[in-house]
Amino acid sequence: MLSIEAVLRGVGAALLCLGAFAGLVSAIGFYRFKNFYLRLHAATVGTIWGCVFPLIGASLISVTMDELGEVKWFAAGASIVTAAIVFLLAPAGSHALARAVHRAHVARVQPCISDALDPNLCG
């Protein structure tokens, strides 16, 4: 029977590896997408899969590490609070940026079929 420590460490390490892979995928995706509105998908993958889940994994790992002493509970709590803050703020910020860029006609929709909000920006 596995101990609680080994299970928590395994789950934490799995979440960290998922986060590292998602960060790499997001960085490559910024080069392969063709216009600004498609790159928002790459940015969302980078912030949610790459930064919220690894922080939860880091808090699970730091609960099991006894070398940190009594501070390990503080580290676990602060990591979860940071994960909640990033989870709430990152989509709101990029949504405001996307709305402003579309309204100010800064970026065109290059391979475009139709743009229902503003047909001048198409193509």
Binding site: R9, L16, A27, I61, V71, T82, A90, S94, V101, R103
Partner: protein, 89 residues
């Protein structure tokens, strides 16, 4: 065992930051550049937490929270400037 995993994850995150910095310098529009800086900063938050756990100096995790908050503020500044022309001051 855990220490080697954390080190490998830190190295992969640094490769992502290098690729994103090149995109932030090169990007054709302003929106691309702000988006790339956004992702760089959120990945820096994860790097701070992991490095402070790795170096066993766990009180440094408090730096990560203001970093996330101020980058949100930068997004809102650029959005207000592009949409209305001035920041209402």
């Amino acid at each position: 065992m855990i220490a080697e995993i954390i080190l490998a994850v830190i190295i992969i995150y640094i490769i992502s930051i290098i690729l994103l910095v090149i995109k932030a310098i090169k990007g054709p529009t302003i929106g691309d550049q702000v988006l790339a800086i956004d992702v760089i900063t959120y990945i820096t938050v994860v790097l701070f937490v992991l490095t402070s756990i790795y170096m066993k100096a766990a009180l440094l995790i408090v730096i990560a929270i203001p970093l996330a908050l101020w980058i949100y503020a930068l997004d809102i500044y650029i959005a207000k400037y592009l949409e209305e022309g001035d920041l209402g001051a």
